[in-house]
């Protein structure tokens, strides 16, 4: 990969663990890259993005303290505090 093609990297935390992702990544992608799932259903099943367009609400997580944020609709920002639910 050429130097020009490499996108800017940003620092975030997921469940309080620091992580680096490419700028422009959605929070849902960052959670997937961390090997985690967005939330756990009431019956204990893992949940993650299904529709990836903000309709199904399966990809919710707590972002910067706001519970039930739809992570497929949010881009990562520097120092973002992401917590799976």
């Amino acid at each position: 990969m050429s130097k020009q093609m490499r996108s800017e990297q940003i620092q975030i935390t997921i469940d309080q663990e620091p992580m680096t992702v490419a700028a422009g990544s959605t929070v849902a992608v960052a959670i997937a890259l961390a090997g985690l799932h967005c939330r756990t259903s009431i019956t204990g099943e893992p949940r993650g993005p299904l529709c990836a367009m903000g309709i199904c609400f399966e990809c919710r997580a707590t972002v910067n303290g706001i519970a039930h944020s739809r992570t497929c609709q949010l881009l990562c920002e520097p120092a973002m505090d992401i917590r799976t639910q």
Partner: protein, 379 residues
């Protein structure tokens, strides 16, 4: 051919379900007729609180008695009923309301209703998401909340285990003189008819002073730990819910799921379940005065329903002029709480057993009939 029963219960809301179980337990041959599905009317629309309420001495007697029956039943209830012994905190905004907290506490003590006075700090510790400072509150220890449709379903199941049968999806076209006519032409014979059809009761028993009183509720997504007790503003009875005009009051409940149920509103003169957004906005504004963070939570659903309201805010329990027709309706916003007590009182009355509390304040005969033919008699 006609089928014969000892008792036919009209309506499988929480009150009808409780009556069916109580009758079946007493050894009666019971049928329940439900037009829609079990617990689908006011039972599904309401909040599901099990609370002591003292709008009048008779209201406290019935709510407190009935609450004790729920407290006893609680260990048997399946998880789906979501019984949650969270207690209620009556929230006092100022010193005047704090004086009411002390009055209520003293009165409850004389009536055997356990409670605890919270000062401003204790309230803030008990509910960190409440606005500060507030004057304090009254924690009513043994109040609870549950999920009413599943509670009604459980009571019906128990009634069925005691031999009751349920006829679903059939409307009753008339019910008098020991005969219940269904909309498919079936006629059921019975010694006793119990009209437990809530705000629709006067369609089958004309002349009842029951008016539908509309209410709205909001349910949020899951926020476990956000709220620990049911909260009600102390102005609930005195200012917010006057008996004539539209009103809102702050009332929020934690559900076992972590969801919050936000109320409440009361409107007469509305005959449809359309969401009135002005009322919903007023409810949220009212709630935000007490819990400023509430409007930023995510709501999943808003709905409305009708309470069966009587002029004196007490239910109609007991006999009518037709010796075969008995009433168990008019429970307004307290039907979940008072269902078990209503059923026990009614069946004690039917079997001439002593009642735990006097039935007199709830007898239908206390209210004059609005039936035209009855009025003509008085001319």
């Amino acid at each position: 051919m006609t089928t014969s029963y000892d008792a036919i219960i009209l309506g499988a809301g929480i009150v009808g379900a409780a009556c069916a179980l109580e009758c079946a337990r007493a050894g009666m041959r019971v049928a329940i007729v439900e037009r829609d599905s079990i617990g689908s009317g006011a039972t599904a629309a309401g909040m599901g609180h099990i609370v002591a309420m003292d709008d009048s001495p008779a209201q406290l007697a019935l709510t407190s008695y009935s609450r004790s029956l729920w407290n006893q039943l609680a260990p048997e209830l399946p998880a789906s009923v979501e019984y949650h012994a969270c207690g209620t905190i009556w929230v006092a905004a100022d010193d005047e309301e704090m004086a009411e907290v002390h009055r209520k506490f003293d009165y409850y003590a004389t009536q055997g209703v356990e409670a605890e006075v919270l000062d401003s700090n204790a309230l803030a510790v008990a509910e960190p998401n409440l606005v500060r400072p507030l004057a304090g509150g009254l924690l009513v220890t043994h109040d609870a909340v549950l999920y009413p449709p599943c509670a009604a379903g459980y009571l019906v199941e128990q009634a069925q285990q005691h031999g009751a049968i349920i006829i679903l999806g059939r409307a009753v076209t008339s019910a008098a003189h020991g005969r219940v006519h269904l909309d498919n032409g079936t006629v059921l014979q019975t010694a006793i008819i119990v009209n437990a059809t809530g705000s629709l009761a006067s369609q089958l028993t004309p002349g009842l002073q029951i008016k539908p009183r509309k209410g709205h509720l909001i349910i949020t997504d899951r926020y476990p730990g956000y709220l620990h007790h049911q909260l009600v503003e102390l102005g609930y009875l005195k200012s917010a819910h006057s008996s004539t005009s539209d009103s809102v009051a702050f009332n929020v409940q934690p559900r076992k799921t972590g969801q919050l149920l936000i109320g409440s509103s009361r409107q007469f003169d509305s005959d449809n379940t359309r969401i009135d957004h002005k009322i919903v906005a007023a409810m949220i504004e009212r709630a935000a005065l007490y819990m400023p963070g509430l409007p930023s939570l995510s709501a999943l659903r808003i709905w409305s329903g009708f309470r069966a309201a009587t002029p004196d805010k007490l239910p109609l329990i007991g006999p009518t002029e037709d010796p075969t027709v008995f009433l168990a309706t008019g429970h307004e916003g307290l039907g979940i709480t008072t269902s078990l007590g209503t059923a026990r009182l009614l069946v004690d009355h039917l079997l001439a057993r002593p009642t735990a509390i006097p039935l007199a304040p709830y007898l239908p005969s206390r209210l004059p009939s609005t039936h035209p033919s009855d009025e003509a008699i008085h001319v």
